[in-house]
């Protein structure tokens, strides 16, 4: 019995050490944010397979077809809301596989910078 238990513990430890962490940003992330009207809204960012992302609020796409690139833990974003300062760079800080914040590396677009660093994202289940 002891032997079986030991094997199980070792196996569990090994699995947790070798388990590959999903660090890809692809998918939907939600932030439960306090809006200007003092009510809470869900703001969703959908990072798509094709390298584009949308911002979604109240069932409407509010940021359409921004472009993103993930290089390790660096996220590069580019959207029309911030023209002509299109490019923004952020460090992805993953608390776990399903929660994340973005730390500023460089972004001269005030609106995007202020919004992005305030978000605390939770990964949405597909």
């Amino acid at each position: 019995m002891k032997k079986v238990l030991s094997i199980l513990i070792v196996a569990t430890l090994l699995q947790s050490c070798t388990e590959k962490r999903d660090t890809s940003i692809k998918g939907k992330w939600v932030d439960h944010m306090l809006a200007q009207d003092e009510t809470y809204h869900d703001f969703i960012v959908y990072f798509k397979e094709d390298g584009t992302y949308d911002g979604i609020e109240g069932g409407k796409v509010v940021i359409q077809g921004g472009r993103y690139e993930q290089k390790g833990d660096t996220l590069i974003v580019n959207d029309n809301a911030c023209a002509p300062y299109n490019i923004g760079m952020y460090k992805m800080v993953l608390y776990s596989q399903d929660s994340m914040k973005l730390e500023l590396i460089a972004d001269s677009c005030d609106v995007r910078r202020q919004g992005t660093v305030a978000f605390r994202f939770k990964r949405m289940q597909p």
Partner: protein
């Protein structure tokens, strides 16, 4: 004879009960939003009691109008095309020249405008205060008698409630590939790239918070100076609020002066503005070169714009 009388009586009873069952007593406004809707359709807010907000903001036309300039209470036409009253909750400026910065501020202006409903706000409030039904409703909802503030809040709440997600949103959010035609999807690509539309038309309702001069001011035939009317700044001459695009297919004619009757005319204009207005003053440099869109690309772009039409919930006006 008795038999016929019995049937007639029964029919009358049925009709009467139907009327009472669906009467306003059951649909009496009980929130600021529904009170705002009630007010929006009520002619009490115009000088001659013949016009309501809905006279120009027609529900079947995405709460816009089908004419270049809507007539007001005295039959005089307004100066600018009626914009849609839907999808306004994210807007930061109202009217083509942006002279109002909140919906509450905007809501009262057409009531008082002599070319529109022509009723001074003080008079409008007095009318509401003299109406027992409205006094009861305002007290129930706002805990006070009708005032200009609560009138504005109610109208604004109703307008804020009219958000219409569209097939385009369904496609992007839910990956529903059937929500849009292949042509409309190509149109989105053109919108975002070759067409350069996205340079100005982005955000929740596909309009930026800026004012732009798209070349519809030449100081002669086209002499509405737009934003400059309000700001008195020379740099604002010919600038207008960038138009939201949600439900755009339902809100013809287009532009501040309704000069384009169809979406295709709008696309043709942007494709080569000089062909339509040869000597514009202070036109935005974004429009300095023709786009060279093919006929297929124009069709695709038009189909994309049509995909931005969304349905609204059934409201009092539909019943």
């Amino acid at each position: 004879m008795k038999w016929i009388l019995t049937i007639v009586c029964m029919v009358i009873m049925i009709i009467t009960s139907l009327i009472f069952c669906t009467s306003p007593t059951q649909k009496m406004p009980d929130t600021a939003e529904t009170l705002g809707e009630h007010l929006f359709f009520d002619t009490i807010l115009s000088i001659n009691k013949k016009f309501s907000c809905a006279s120009c903001h027609k529900p079947g036309l995405s709460f816009a109008d089908s004419v270049d300039f809507s007539p007001g209470a005295f039959g005089k036409k307004g100066r600018r095309n009626t914009p849609s009253a839907m999808n306004v909750s994210a807007q930061t400026h109202f009217f083509w020249d942006g002279r109002a910065t909140t919906l509450e501020e905007q809501a009262l202006m057409p009531i008082a405008n002599p070319d529109e409903m022509a009723l001074p706000i003080d008079s409008a409030v007095k009318r509401l205060q003299a109406d027992k039904n409205y006094v009861r409703l305002f007290k129930k909802i706002f805990n006070e008698a009708p005032s200009s503030k609560t009138l504005a809040i109610a109208l604004a709440k109703f307008e804020k409630s009219m958000e219409t997600p569209s097939p385009f949103d369904d496609w992007r959010i839910n990956d529903n590939e059937n929500a849009l035609s292949a042509s409309a999807k190509r149109g989105f690509t053109i919108f975002s790239n070759k067409g350069k539309c996205v340079k100005c038309h982005f955000g929740p309702d596909f309009n930026n918070v800026e004012f732009r001069n798209i070349g519809l001011f030449d100081g002669k035939k086209l002499n509405d100076s737009g934003r400059a009317d309000f700001t008195k700044l020379g740099s604002d001459i010919g600038k207008f609020k960038i138009g939201p695009l949600r439900n755009i297919a339902l809100t013809a004619p287009y532009m501040h002066n309704g000069m384009f009757k169809t979406l295709r005319e709008v696309i043709d204009y942007y494709n080569d503005p000089d062909k339509v207005v040869p000597n514009p003053i202070n036109r935005d440099t974004l429009l300095s070169q023709p786009l060279h869109l093919t006929e297929q690309e124009k069709t695709d772009l038009e189909n994309f714009l049509k995909s931005l039409s969304g349905k609204r919930q059934v409201t009092e006006s539909d019943i």
